[in-house]
């Protein structure tokens, strides 16, 4: 549960680092959900037509944001989508992850009609990406209830820190621990841009609407959340599962494994989580199970000697 100022807590931030997403059930009021569906219905043909040779006029009642502009510039009133994005709860979540008034990258209306058999292959949206720990977020907003098997997005928790090409993961038809979204109307998932996911068939009688927006940070993503609990949870490099482990710490939370993370390969994901948390917390002394510190200390000894 976010803090009173609507920003995320340290525990929620740690969960984001582990899972690659956070889920907020029914966070958008029902009255607003229906208005956003109406706006998405008007917006969708405009979005689709942009792939064609003729650029259409703007959707009635909703100006389209321009890529690279502040989020606050887009979807002014009376836009229902804009109203959803300006909810204090949504703004608090986004501020915690990508800072205040992040940059609008792009958005899209994802509609799966009733009876659709279309299945997307697993993929990553970050086709061209950096190797540093900075990240964008993608907000997935489901304005209607999505029941099991009714077109909810398939996604694989914990995959967001792996370096892959967009469609290179399409061969994984099933992965242990993967999920398919179900949830009440007004539920929002906020995901790291690297999370593996795929659209699913909707054999039901219900339409499945989803609005997705990608946002870039405009400030370093350091301590942007409500850090009132950070001092109590932040651990140093002595946090090691085979030595000493505090009763509750960021390190303890980052060690949580997903079902597909079996064997010793998961330690490479754990190293990536530690690097991301060093960035988020601005603390180069942070570590989990000593993986980074051990190598850095030995490396410093070799540097003392000079070239070898």
């Amino acid at each position: 549960m976010p803090a009173a100022d609507h920003r995320l807590t340290t525990r929620e931030m740690a969960d984001f680092v582990v899972d690659g997403y956070l889920r907020f059930e029914g966070i958008v009021p029902e009255a607003l959900n229906q208005r956003t569906v109406d706006e998405m219905r008007r917006l969708m043909p405009v979005k689709l037509a942009r792939f064609g040779p003729d650029v259409p006029a703007e959707a009635e009642g909703a100006a389209q944001p321009r890529t690279g502009t502040p989020l606050s510039d887009g979807y002014p009133p009376p836009s229902a989508i804009g109203e959803m994005l300006r909810l204090p709860a949504i703004r608090g979540i986004l501020e915690s992850l990508v800072g205040p008034d992040p940059v609008f990258d792009h958005d899209f209306v994802h509609f799966v009609h009733a009876g659709s058999g279309f299945r997307q292959l697993l993929h990553v949206d970050a086709i061209i990406d950096s190797t540093d720990p900075s990240f964008d977020v993608q907000l997935f907003y489901f304005p209607n209830e999505v029941r099991a098997g009714e077109g909810g997005t398939r996604f694989v928790p914990g995959t967001h820190l792996r370096r892959v090409r967009a469609e290179g993961v399409s061969r994984y038809h099933r992965i242990r621990g993967e999920q398919q979204f179900t949830g009440p109307a007004g539920t929002v998932l906020v995901a790291h841009h690297g999370l593996w996911h795929a659209g699913q068939p909707n054999p039901s009688e219900h339409e499945r609407w989803m609005y997705k927006i990608r946002l870039n940070p405009r400030v370093p993503q350091v301590k942007l959340w409500n850090t009132s609990d950070l001092d109590a949870l932040q651990n140093d490099a002595s946090d090691h599962v085979f030595a000493t482990v505090p009763a509750d710490s960021v390190g303890r939370r980052l060690r949580r494994r997903h079902d597909w993370q079996r064997g010793h390969e998961e330690r490479y994901d754990l190293r990536q989580r530690a690097l991301l948390w060093r960035y988020l917390s601005g603390d180069t002394a942070f570590d989990v199970d000593y993986y980074l510190t051990r190598v850095e200390q030995r490396g410093a000894l070799v540097e003392e000697v000079g070239s070898v």
């Binding site: 190797t131 820190l161 290179g168 061969r171 099933r174 992965i175 390969e265 190293r271």
Partner: protein, 92 residues
């Protein structure tokens, strides 16, 4: 009679064939006219379990050194084993 192939990808937790299955994909050249795979999550506990159920191993993963500087970056699931089996079907 005509021969059709089914292909089973199993991604295992480690480089050994008898390590745990963590991901899978099944491709059926018989278009459902012959048996598929068990319904479990995963369908087989290990790669060895698939052999024991009659799958033939086509390919084991190559264990190649990662590029310098990328030795510890996780990426694709590294331990990909490919299996097949053939079925003889009446000609269409």
């Amino acid at each position: 009679m005509t021969v059709r192939q089914q292909v089973l990808y199993l991604w295992l937790s480690e480089s050994a064939l008898d390590s745990e299955v963590i991901a899978w994909a099944f491709h059926d050249g018989t278009q459902g006219r012959q048996g598929g795979i068990p319904d479990g999550d995963p369908p087989y506990k290990t790669g060895l379990a698939a052999l024991e159920e009659g799958w033939l191993l086509l390919q084991s993963p190559q264990i190649t050194p990662p590029p310098p500087g990328r030795e510890f970056d996780p990426g694709y699931l590294p331990y990909e084993f490919v299996f097949e089996r053939h079925w003889e079907l009446p000609a269409a």
